[in-house]
Subunit: 251 residues, 2 copies
DNA sequence: TACCGCTTGTGAACGCATGCACAAAGTCGG
DNA sequence: CCGACTTTGTGCATGCGTTCACAAGCGGTA
């Protein structure tokens, strides 16, 4: 890493400028873990813990200690050798890296069971994600507030999103509507989308999509159930020559 | 791959036995994609499509064609060179690999907003995952059916799970309750858990946990919003020497 | 001040996953 | 029956992510 940076002649602080430089280089997988560390650290801060070692923190976050240190090294070195990390410092630093210093306005599209649940979270867990707009096609739902936010008709999506500066769109519609909703969000300037519909969305390169697919999650678990069942069977039956010839079964 | 297998002297068919052998070797990432392919293929089958090439399927699934072929090769070669894949054959084969030939009984714990949404899906999307039990601590909820399934008190979790042969447990409780619920599910013999609570669960090695963490998803998106904002700023401002020195910004 | 023990930060090795490129294998038309 | 064309299946190289192992650095102590 060269990490060479010039004279911070911008409106941002030098520290922030340095952050931005690093931000490019953080692996996607590490970003996801940083969010987890942040939650654990916040919990510790509330409990009055002021310092933590990589070993403790990694255990609480369920990862390898070396990996945790490497993840933290991506965002700069803020630990003290021989001591550990200052919880407060780490929390605010991760928050800055993850962009949690600003609020991100969220719009939820599709006020069915899931949409209701999302709207009722009332500002997403962990804060900083106020839900500012709800949309649905069903005219009967329009106007009635859910979780304190009124529902707009989906045709108003562009105006409302622009007006309320929505930066994250959440798609909780039935599958057939998802792509159309996605397109409308994109044309309303939304560049980040969280998709709950079991559909592969087609988007331009400049839009970031993350998907949460319950069916896929269930099927992955199903795969493991089946695998376990098979292993158990081939152990308990044991009257065949199958599954041997040097196969290693994890203990 | 050696793929040498003996005389299938079991109750299962030779084809199934062969599947089980392969199942061990499938990379986790590929399993997730197989579930996606399955959904796309099911849609095609309903539309009357009978054959598909790796190119078409990969595009519909949003992945590289070579990767798709490699994924399919993990589960055995069922395509015809020069032609492509038979949709029906592929569907039933992936279903077998993912263990979807059996039903997997699902229990949902925590009947809040999210729990309601999950219960009301009424058998999970894609089928094969009947929700057979609901649990909550709140005595007021007990007995009242949600989505046609009565709610049991959480203290009954062990008996009910054993009785109804629950193979997948879904945790939709508030964070503080999650670990306790998880422990009870495990002691009721549940080996696969889908966790919606923002908590790192501690489980024995023989239990498979997958987590869906909305806060983390939002924060990853937030990170990308921030990154975009920075890039836009450094382009539009352009009065500093930052962010240059050979840095490649993706087009 | 000099030493000792502890913890960070990171270079280097390893392993997994992705993508390329091509041979093998099949179909279709003549 | 043969040759041209199409598409699969896979060996190989590349890149990313994880893990190991250790030097560098810091606080505490005599």
């Amino acid at each position: 890493m060269v990490s060479q940076r010039g004279e911070g002649e911008t409106t941002t602080t030098p520290a922030e400028a340095a952050d931005k430089e690093r931000a490019r280089a953080i692996p996607e997988a590490a970003v996801a873990r940083l969010a987890v560390y942040l939650r654990v650290l916040s919990g510790m801060a509330e409990s009055g813990v002021t310092a933590v070692s990589s070993e403790e923190l990694s255990q609480a976050a369920g990862v390898n200690a070396a990996k945790l240190r490497k993840d933290l090294s991506y965002i700069g070195s803020y630990g003290t050798r021989g001591v550990g990390y200052d919880v407060e410092v780490l929390v605010s630093h991760i928050e800055r890296i993850l962009g949690l210093t600003r609020n991100h306005s969220v719009a939820v599209v599709g006020i069915g069971n899931l949409g209701h649940a999302l709207a009722n979270y009332g500002g997403f867990p962990g804060r900083g994600f106020p839900v500012t707009a709800l949309f649905d096609v069903d005219a009967d739902l329009v106007g009635i507030p859910v979780g304190g936010i009124p529902v707009n008709h989906i045709d108003e999506i562009t105006e409302v999103c622009l007006e309320r500066e929505v930066s994250i769109g959440v798609i909780a519609t039935p599958p057939p509507a998802a792509q159309s909703v996605c397109d409308r969000l994109v044309s309303a300037g939304v560049q980040c989308i969280l998709n709950f519909a079991p559909v592969v969305l087609q988007v331009p390169d400049n839009v970031e999509v993350r998907k949460v697919d319950l069916a896929v999650e269930m099927q992955i678990l199903s795969f493991h159930v089946a695998r376990r069942a098979d292993e158990a069977a081939s152990v308990s039956v044991g009257n065949n020559g199958l599954g041997v010839d040097g196969m290693v079964i994890r203990p």
